[in-house]
């Protein structure tokens, strides 16, 4: 007599330790194997785009903090680039360098968090997570010196940055960079050559390049699939045109490659930070802009940066008032999430959790 089996549908989330926020996957399993996946999101919807229509241009900066709350610095930067394009304001050099420096530090912090949770999803009992949080805390301390906040920073403002860095920021940054070498090496040694990490992640959940391009995926995930695509190189903003750095590109598109690209990007970000420290010169940190910004009627602008998760864009339309007529956020996490079904079907439950970790989504940005 043949054994009678039937598929089993399980809701992973919205309350689940590995969905990186309130995110739900309705999955049909055949034993451990995934037959169908349906991502369901919207649990964290706060209406950021609509809220932006009733706030003035400076206030919206604080809304952007809450999008991808582990890389607020980059969100602020993207939004400010869009507003500056609307107004036609030229940002002072020192502010450009400060923005570049802080954005790269934020990228390191965000990637460290991504790596930590990726390994947590692989089943480590928090050791790599704690190691990466140790470094991330140092970066948050630096941000606290700059603007008083640790997570919701609002450091970039239209026309420049909030304040110049205090005097004791620079020695603290040097000390951080010195400690970073050894601490980060410890994380790399702990995980990068671990055999179990290798067998669990290499060749798993491959995202082919054509699928990635068709789905408009961006950031480390796209670069792991083999396309050299980085807005910091292709359309340099702020001070990136004066920075020397490499873009790590892997070709496999599997979980390990996504993880590897992030690990290498951390090294490149530190390189950029060091160049910023060398090149930065004294000067004003904010252009002369009025307190209440009124862009011309009908002006449109698209501010685009390479955020830690991919291409982050703010599309603003002005009707001449003190708040935008429309503010559209192109959030990388949401678009990167659209490929889940393609890369998950046929793999096992354990792989699904790890793959979600390797996509490094942030629900604050997905649901907005």
């Amino acid at each position: 007599m043949p054994i009678q089996t039937e598929p089993m549908t399980v809701n992973i989330g919205p309350q689940h330790p590995s969905t990186h926020g309130v995110f739900r996957l309705r999955v049909t399993f055949d034993g451990e194997e995934i037959l169908e996946v349906e991502p369901i999101f919207g649990y964290l919807h706060r209406g950021t785009e609509k809220l932006a229509e009733s706030r003035n241009y400076t206030h919206i900066v604080t809304l952007t903090d809450r999008l991808d709350y582990v890389s607020s610095m980059i969100n602020n930067q993207a939004y400010c680039l869009a507003v500056e394009e609307l107004l036609g304001v030229e940002v002072p050099q020192r502010a450009k360098y400060l923005r570049t420096l802080t954005a790269e530090l934020q990228r390191v912090a965000s990637h460290l968090m991504g790596l930590g949770f990726f390994l947590q999803d692989l089943g480590t009992l928090g050791t790599p997570l704690m190691y990466s949080f140790r470094l991330r805390e140092r970066i948050l301390d630096l941000f606290e010196m700059l603007c008083g906040a640790r997570i919701t920073l609002s450091y970039s403002r239209p026309g420049g940055v909030f304040f110049d860095a205090p005097d004791d920021f620079w020695p603290a940054l040097d000390q951080f960079l010195k400690d970073f070498e050894t601490d980060y090496q410890e994380i790399e040694q702990l995980i990068l050559e671990n055999e179990i990490v290798m067998v669990r992640t290499r060749g798993v959940s491959v995202l082919p390049l054509d699928v990635a391009i068709n789905a408009s995926v961006s950031g480390p995930i796209l670069r792991a699939s083999g396309l050299d695509w980085d807005w910091r190189k292709m359309a340099p903003y702020d001070a990136y045109d004066r920075m020397e750095f490499d873009v790590p590109v892997a070709t496999g598109g599997d979980n390990y490659d996504r993880f590897w690209v992030r690990m290498q990007e951390i090294h490149q970000s530190i390189r950029i930070v060091k160049q910023c420290i060398e090149q930065i010169e004294p000067g004003p940190t904010r252009a002369e802009v009025p307190l209440i910004l009124r862009p011309p009627v009908g002006a449109e602008a698209y501010g685009r940066v390479e955020a830690s998760k991919g291409e982050l864009g703010f599309y603003l339309v002005s009707d001449g008032g003190i708040s935008p007529y429309r503010c559209k956020v192109r959030s990388p996490s949401l678009i990167n999430l659209t490929v889940t079904e393609h890369i998950l079907v046929g793999w096992k439950l354990s792989d699904m959790i790890v793959t979600l970790g390797s996509l490094d989504i942030n629900m604050g940005e997905v649901d907005r």
Binding site: P17, L122, T124, T127, M130, L190, V197, D246, P248
Partner: protein
């Protein structure tokens, strides 16, 4: 009345029992004092195991705290040592929930069925000279039989909880337990062959050279197999916090949860105790006639530390990789070990079938050679899967010069 135990009694070898029996026997009738001293020694054992489990839960949390660069529990009692007590009080006062669709009877049996084998195993383990509760002549067999109750308990929990996560955990747990039972049994056969007896007392006295040296492969297989049966990383699939939240015991709360946790922490200690007895020469050491229990506890502590260390360091394997590890790696390894040991015992034993210390040293040297050879062979077989470390299909660093 003076009751004296005769040597034909099964508990004659247990020194502690004899002492209590003769002391109580001065007051009570012999039959009653037999029962009283039996219950007394049972209470000692059960409470000892539970207390040890509580203590170990604190030790492990402190240790993992240190591995994490954290402090760990440090609020309640000296260095937080009363933390298990605080946890227990908290869990006792929590509501004991049973899901609506649950099979109530099975659901309630599970915590007991989890805890029972943990305590039962300790009955045959000698803590010091003549201190085993029961010196069974089939001690090794008894341990194997009793520990396999756990797989039934895990499946009962998954089935009775009426929860799909629990069912996932249970099916994984049973698959793992059944697969790892086989290499574990095969590895113990090697030990039994060398010791020439299944009684744990005889195994300890046969270890003039610790069997860790004589049977390195058996120890490795047994350690890996036990980790898998204890649901500890890298084999903690049945619980798999990041995947199944808590796996088979997801629906348990209150006292039942406390019992399951006690069973898990206690199982680490009892497995360490079994390993100490079988591979680390048990209670023997300098002054072991008086300090046998101290040697025993120290060796358990070392092994429990290794368990915590492994738990804090490794990611988890996937279910198919885990089963492949058991069937394709551990099972051949334990069979090779069994074969090599059988051949060596055939050639080295004397007319009474025993091995002396010099023979054991020679066997240790040979077995280390065999272990090294096996590691080389199996290492080359899986090498292409894990080496070189780095992306599978190559990667580059683009300088991003615009074209």
């Amino acid at each position: 009345m003076n009751c004296v135990l005769t040597p034909d009694n099964i508990l004659y070898d247990t020194l502690l029992f004899r002492v209590i029996y003769e002391w109580v026997g001065g007051v009570l009738p012999c039959g009653l004092s037999y029962a009283v001293s039996g219950i007394a020694i049972m209470m000692l054992l059960v409470n000892g195991v539970l207390l040890g489990a509580g203590l170990f839960s604190w030790v492990e949390r402190r240790l993992i705290g240190r591995f994490h660069n954290r402090i760990g529990p440090n609020r309640w009692g000296p260095f937080g040592a009363l933390q298990p007590l605080a946890d227990l009080v908290k869990l006792i006062f929590k509501e004991d929930l049973t899901p609506r669709g649950a099979d109530r009877i099975l659901f309630s049996i599970v915590p007991v069925a989890m805890l029972a084998p943990v305590v039962l195993v300790m009955a045959v383990v000698p803590f010091a000279k003549d201190t085993a509760l029961a010196n069974l002549n089939v001690g090794v067999l008894y341990i194997l039989a009793v520990t396999s109750i756990t797989s039934v308990a895990v499946f009962m929990a998954g089935w009775a909880s009426d929860n799909r996560y629990a069912l996932f955990g249970a099916s994984r747990g049973v698959a793992v337990l059944i697969s790892y039972e086989v290499p574990v049994v095969c590895s113990l056969l090697g030990v039994v062959l060398v010791a020439g007896s299944m009684s744990l007392d005889d195994v300890v006295s046969a270890q003039t050279v610790p069997f860790l040296l004589v049977q390195p492969m058996a120890f490795f297989v047994f350690f890996a197999g036990t980790s898998a049966e204890l649901n500890r990383t890298p084999f903690d699939l049945a619980e798999a916090e990041s995947e199944l939240i808590a796996g088979f015991h997801i629906e348990y709360s209150g006292v039942k949860f406390a019992l399951i946790q006690a069973a898990e922490f206690g199982a680490v200690l009892t497995s360490s105790a079994v390993m100490v007895t079988l591979f680390l020469s048990g209670w023997s050491g300098p002054l072991s006639n008086y300090l046998g229990w101290a040697w025993f506890l120290i060796k358990i502590g070392v092994l429990a530390f290794v368990f915590s260390w492994v738990r804090a360091s490794f990611p988890r394997l996937r279910i198919d990789q885990l089963l492949a590890f058991a069937w394709k790696f551990l099972l051949p390894l334990s069979i090779i070990n069994l074969f090599a040991t059988a051949v060596q015992v055939y050639f080295f034993r004397d007319s009474t079938g025993m091995l002396d210390t010099a023979d054991l040293w020679i066997m240790a040297a040979i077995n280390f050679g065999v272990a090294l050879g096996c590691l080389l062979i199996f290492g080359t077989l899986i090498k292409e899967k894990v080496r070189p470390a780095g992306p599978l299909t190559g990667a580059t660093f683009s300088t991003g010069e615009a074209d």
